[in-house]
Amino acid sequence: MYQLEVLIRNFTYLLLGAVVTLKITAISVLMGLAIGTFVGMGRLSKRKIISIPSSIYVEFLRGTPLLVQIFLIYFGLPSLGLNLEAFPAAVIALGINSGAYVAEIVRAGIQSVPKGQYEAARSLGMSHTMAMRYVILPQAFRNILPALGNEFIALLKDSSLVSVIGITELMKSGQIVISRTFASFSIYGGVALIYFAMTFTLARIVRYTEKRLAIR
């Protein structure tokens, strides 16, 4: 009973943490999308000067642990004279990391659009950039929406890692409550439930958007 009482009493506090989680996730998603779109296009570029760095970016970030990346940015950069507060460090680390995964998804999305689409766009006088922006990417994004949704859900869950650099998001909020109350089971249980509620809702939103945007 004590366990449940603690959870109920501290639930609002946990929800405040969840809001921070959502905030971090939202900003990192936008960053990841922006980076991923450019790097994804970059990997397909005919120019090696663009495609090689893009590939290195993707391979390196997918091939190293996110936790190491977070530490590298939060603890590592200051030794190079670049001090970041915990929140921007967290968002940057997550955004850069997500960018690599989004890049792979975007690349697959672009490749899923038939070549004739690009040619039709170019044959009407559009530049490469215009063809990408108005013809290829809109179709690519429709095709990859489910994959992007999964990536965002993964990102939301991964954001719990930034608790280690002292950001009071959902995970850290739970730990703080537990350090006062020792009600590990109910609090971690509550934390898990709140994460689940968020990922479940996010999945629903993605499915809904997918249906709305499906090519009629």
Partner: protein
């Protein structure tokens, strides 16, 4: 008459594969040239070289008398050359009317309202005004191809290239596309048409060219081309295709 386009001695390689072996063509304003030839002879590749969707390794292309620089002039050039593809290539995420207005608005900077008006006129001309707000997937192949023709016409091109525009269509839909193309020809549009529709060639073409293994083997006005072909390969091909 004035020359609108001239291709001189175009050579194209795909890796080691020599696909175009010195193809030349000069076309006057208002002329309709039909290119026929067996599969794999390089017809599509030649059309694609003309508007630089494909690079060529040798040869020159002149547009309205000016040498085209493939590194610099292509976007501008392509606004002057309309292209119609075998598989239509309409933009599936855009409504019919948006398919038409996209390029003129973004590329030529045409006013949106003006573009819509022009698009409605052209859709009317191809008999599809009532379809302006549907998505391409809702249209039959013949309708899609007519939209694709209207989309190309939105740019007011000086010349239109057609790459087997009817060969992906069910037989009963071929007619509606050909009739739009005939109208276009009689309105004075300059056209290069790759097709196996011999009736169209006989009726509309000023000249018919036979391409085989990357070369133009024969070229003549349609009466002459179909009744007394000179080249053996042309004869064989015509026999086969006309089922004689």
């Amino acid at each position: 008459m004035s020359e609108i386009l001239r291709a001189e001695n175009i050579h194209k390689y795909f890796g080691k594969l020599h696909v175009l072996k010195g193809v030349s063509l000069s076309i006057q304003k208002g002329e309709v040239v039909v290119i026929i030839g067996p599969s794999g002879s390089g017809k599509s590749t030649f059309l694609r070289c003309i508007n630089h969707l494909e690079e060529y390794q040798e040869g020159k292309i002149y547009f309205e008398g000016k040498l085209v620089n493939p590194k610099k002039d292509v976007n501008k050039l392509r606004t002057r050359i309309g292209m119609v593809f075998q598989h239509f290539n309409l933009f599936p995420h855009l409504k019919v009317i948006e398919n038409l207005t996209l390029a003129p608005v973004k590329v030529l900077g045409m006013d949106e309202k003006e573009a819509i008006k022009k698009a409605e006129n052209l859709l009317d001309r191809v008999g599809l005004l009532d379809k302006k707000d549907v998505y391409p997937a809702k249209l039959s192949g013949g309708q899609q191809q007519r939209v694709a023709i209207a989309r190309a016409l939105m740019m007011d091109p000086d010349i239109m290239l057609f790459d087997e525009p009817t060969s992906a269509l069910d037989p009963e839909l071929v007619y509606e596309v050909l009739s739009v193309m005939k109208d276009l020809a009689s309105s004075g549009m300059t056209m290069i048409v790759v097709t196996h529709e011999m009736g169209f060639a006989k009726e509309v073409a000023n000249r018919v060219m036979f391409m085989d293994e990357g070369k133009i083997l024969e070229e003549a006005p349609p009466e002459e081309f179909f009744t007394s072909p000179k080249n053996e390969r042309t004869k064989e091909f015509l026999d086969r295709i006309l089922g004689i």
